[in-house]
């Protein structure tokens, strides 16, 4: 982050804390590219860099009231970006280790199953790998036919939070199930 970006970020964040949505959108757009560069410089051009970016943006959103305009913006921002990058890295390692373990499972011919069985098992395994809140939201909406409002009421989350959580869950599921990653 350049000094000009830091000055601009602090100004936008001050406005965003007052409820200026345009300034907030500009801030998040700028921090997207900063976070992407930050993550790529540390872990390379891996597929989950965008996960780091989105996790960072979500955390900034939830933590924006903790930014003190009297203090520099960069340490506040990089503390969040570093923390989220480590979290995503850990999650990726966990997912990868599960995938490797799954590869060693089918042994005897009696365990040979149909294509549809494999899919169901894979879906259940992928669901089990999700964070509890994401799994709860997806199971509610897809298995129990709950609406976004139903899930929001049950989990005490806002409706937009339910949508964001569900989207993040779907994205992780797609990756776990071998689909293409968006964005």
């Amino acid at each position: 982050m350049t000094s000009e970006q830091e000055r601009q970020s602090a100004a936008w964040m001050r406005l965003a804390q007052g409820g200026d949505q345009a300034a907030y959108a500009s801030l998040l757009a700028m921090l997207t590219s900063v976070t992407r560069r930050f993550a790529r410089a540390r872990v390379g051009d891996v597929g989950w860099v965008d996960d780091v970016v989105q996790e960072t943006l979500l955390t900034i959103h939830g933590a924006r009231h903790t930014y003190d305009p009297a203090r520099p913006f960069a340490p506040w921002f990089y503390a969040i970006a570093s923390s989220r990058m480590i979290d995503v890295l850990r999650r990726e390692r966990r997912v990868r280790s599960r995938e490797i373990a799954d590869d060693t499972l089918p042994e005897s011919p009696s365990e040979v199953v149909s294509e549809s069985d494999i899919d169901v098992k894979a879906i259940h395994a992928a669901l089990a790998a999700l964070p509890a809140r994401q799994r709860d939201v997806i199971e509610g909406m897809k298995f129990r036919d709950e609406s976004v409002r139903d899930v929001a009421g049950r989990t005490k989350m806002s409706e937009s939070a339910v949508k964001v959580t569900a989207h993040r869950g779907y994205r992780t599921l797609r990756r776990l199930l071998g689909g293409r990653h968006e964005d």
Binding site: L57, Y67, D68, R171
Partner: protein, 217 residues
């Protein structure tokens, strides 16, 4: 969801927020609450009858000082950790841990050098005081931490647990008339460790649920 869509979603849901007070202000608020709670407990139950004489004994003073250093430093570190980028250095976490170790070592040393028999290891009153005062002060601190953004739930909860149980132990030490080092070690230090462990487990869980990918607009 693409990042551009996420930005629009977040911006759309972003209303004005009330800025969190700086960690230094929040530390004083919590210390004020904890000191008031401890003072009320000491006044309500009554301080030990020989408090004037006790404060002239090195072990009593060393133990109380270690507890106060642990309380103040742990609260300061935990509340700083709850604001991204506010913790000056992770090395600051050493002070509250070292103070707790010094507290335990004070009584271990007294046991090693004392020839007296050990009559009463655990007293229910001390255990209840440590547990209740620790839970109330710990819950207050946890509430303050959850209002911020603790990115390291385990560390933050652990350090906060130290703050809660040490202020409770300091109040209990002023109340408890039993000078036996074995009682202090088992009836105070060990009980505080158990209460602290419970506070850590509960606190880590609550902070993690709040901040590891579940709090949303």
């Amino acid at each position: 969801m693409k990042t551009d869509e996420l930005i629009l979603e977040l911006a759309k849901s972003a209303g004005p927020v009330t800025r969190l007070a700086p960690p230094s202000v929040r530390v004083w608020r919590w210390l004020g609450m904890a000191a008031t709670l401890a003072a009320v407990a000491v006044i309500a139950i009554g301080p030990r009858a020989d408090l004037g004489a006790a404060v002239t004994r090195p072990a009593f003073v060393a133990s109380l000082l270690a507890l106060l250093v642990a309380t103040v430093s742990a609260a300061a570190v935990a509340l700083a950790m709850s604001v991204p980028g506010a913790e000056r250095s992770p090395r600051q976490r050493v002070l509250p841990i070292a103070a707790v170790v010094a507290w335990a070592l004070t009584w271990l040393l007294m046991i090693a050098t004392s020839s007296a028999g050990h009559a009463r290891l655990i007293h229910a009153g001390c255990a209840i005081e440590i547990a209740v005062l620790g839970m109330v002060s710990g819950w207050t601190l946890l509430t303050m931490l959850r209002r911020a953004a603790p990115l390291q739930p385990a560390w933050t909860a652990g350090i906060a647990a130290i703050a809660a149980v040490t202020v409770a132990s300091a109040a209990t030490q002023v109340i408890c008339p039993i000078d036996d080092p074995a009682h202090q070690l088992v009836g105070h230090v060990l009980i505080a460790a158990l209460v602290g462990l419970a506070a850590f487990v509960v606190g880590r869980g609550r902070l993690a649920r709040t901040w590891l990918g579940t709090r949303r607009p």
